[in-house]
């Protein structure tokens, strides 16, 4: 294949598929109880300089209890697959990020991320490599397929490609230009799910974002779950399993684990809390004050939920079941 163009962005994570195979070969296939706390999972699996990823988005089914624990333990120099809202803002707000494969970090309806701006514009983040949204998901898909790259028709002709680590080649079958995206293997992936068993089998309700691909692209996979259920629930409905247990290294029971984000059919997002962060994140001092109150100032996810208060959490559940915001009092 003739190489026509190569993006000048850094290939942060090398797509070594043979090493990935060896790694997966050694992964235990034993059905063992993998439950642990956020603190233990982060201590055991997420080290300074690790390349990590989260799914879905910081306000939707996102492993916030795990991200908060990373901030609490101060794991630094992180390299990140940057598709995020609230969760990546926490890591950026705490200045823990060194390199980014970036597709979108922003606050959606509330606009740009002040933390991303400060970290990139100050040069504290050393590397920003650009991708499209599907580009990142397809990179996970390539890793999930066990191949080093995937051909796609996005990104062609743009600066997004120029500042990525993608390559453009002449397709050996059609002769047309095609964009090749390198597989992206995560050191650690984190996914929040609706239910899992003690071994790590997991189900997700509603849209699945890029969970299927990311789970299979992660060398180490940490699952947080709203609820632990018996394995029979999986054996009775195996078609519903999106993540089989052998991909999983840790299972954390984290009710309201996506707060202040939402969990479809269970609780809506906490607009009051999100607005509090949007305002706090405008300035480094108020950012620090927010982190002090909601992350450093509590020992774990349970204490965080106590701080938010069960009454408010139940209101969020109430709205998800069909009550209006007005009726719920939030």
């Amino acid at each position: 294949m003739e190489l026509i163009e190569a993006g000048q962005g850094k290939l942060i994570q090398y797509p070594d598929m043979n090493e990935f195979r060896e790694w997966n070969r050694k992964k235990s296939k034993v059905l063992v109880d993998k439950r642990m706390t956020e603190a233990e999972a982060v201590r055991r699996f997420i080290h300074d300089g690790a390349y990590i990823g989260t799914e879905l988005y910081g306000t939707v089914r996102c492993p916030m209890s795990l991200v908060n624990e990373i901030v609490r333990q101060g794991v630094k120099d992180l390299r990140i697959a940057g598709q995020g809202v609230f969760e990546l803002d926490m890591l950026l707000g705490a200045s823990l990020v060194k390199e980014l494969d970036l597709t979108y970090i922003g606050l959606e309806v509330y606009g740009v991320s002040n933390c991303l701006r400060r970290e990139v514009e100050s040069g504290r983040i050393e590397t920003c490599v650009e991708w499209s949204n599907a580009g990142i998901a397809w990179r996970f898909k390539a890793a999930a397929m066990g191949v080093p790259f995937i051909p796609v028709r996005s990104m062609l002709g743009t600066d997004t490609l120029k500042y990525s680590a993608a390559k453009v080649v002449e397709c050996p079958f059609t002769g047309e230009k095609i964009c090749l995206l390198p597989a992206l293997i995560l050191d650690v992936g984190m996914i929040h799910v609706h239910r899992a068993d003690i071994y790590g089998n997991a189900q997700i309700d509603g849209i699945s974002g890029f969970a299927l691909e990311m789970a299979r692209a992660s060398k180490t996979l940490i699952i947080s779950t709203e609820k632990i259920v018996p394995t029979d629930e999986f054996r009775n409905h195996p078609d519903r399993t999106i993540i089989p247990y052998y991909l999983v290294d840790a299972v954390i029971e984290a009710p309201f684990g996506s707060h202040p984000g939402e969990m479809c059919y269970q609780y809506v997002r906490d607009e009051q809390q999100i607005k509090e962060w949007v305002q706090a994140s405008a300035d480094p001092q108020t950012t620090r004050a927010y982190l002090d109150k909601y992350i450093y100032g509590v020992n774990d996810h349970g204490e965080y939920l106590d701080l938010i208060g069960m009454e408010r959490l139940q209101q969020l559940q109430h709205v998800a079941k069909g009550a209006s915001y007005d009726e719920s009092g939030i």
Binding site: Y104, I105, E121, A134, R153, D159, I178, I207, G209
Partner: protein, 257 residues
Amino acid sequence: MSPASDSYNPSELLICTASRLMKDNTTAFIGTGIPMLAASLAQRMHAPNLVTIFEFGGTGAILEQLPLAVGGENTFHRALAASGICDVVETAQRGFVEYGFLGGAQIDAYGNLNSTVIGDHQHPKVRLPGSGGANDVGSNCWQTIAIMRHDKRRFLEKIDFITTPGYLSGAGAREAAGLPPGTGPYRVVTNLAVCGFDDVSKRMLLLATQPGVSVQEVLDNTGFELLVSSHVEENLPPSAEELHILREEVDKDRLYI
């Protein structure tokens, strides 16, 4: 169309203008913000079978409540399918998605969009969120519609970064870059005008002005040489019915308007 209302704000005008471009029984990629409101309005007005597609997997939602996130539950409320990002973008890559709605901080005469950086990429003056799904939509949907505020800081001869492809450097450039043939920008909807693109040069072409806006005003607020159609129309203002539905049903909590 029912009689025009005399009072509306710029957001309402953008939403109503974009909504009228959404056709019944078509597929449209919808992003957060104005496109969502426009799609919800269109479903209640003239396009009940508009198939909305949200990038994290929602297909065919009925937009009774406004989503606040592109992965939120309302993006697959009473939908036809809830899948994932690869499935929906691959659906566009296979040619199933007619329209894609986009926004950006900057746009040029060929409809290229910037949502990545203001200034130099290595040392940006402003770091913006990045492509997100925009590049995928702009690459793979048949026709894209950009929704923008219209001023000289946003409508530039040369934008700082091409995040999302329009017609790139002009006629034939998309195909030469390897993008799917026959795709590209269709309309640019702004608070001052609706623009299309010249068939030959692929440069932006003024098609219609918004109510009370002159052609000169549009040109004065555009930072590149804007082509002008031989017959520039004036858009009808939002109708009383559109505004009523928008205010009382689509966004009754006034989250956006």
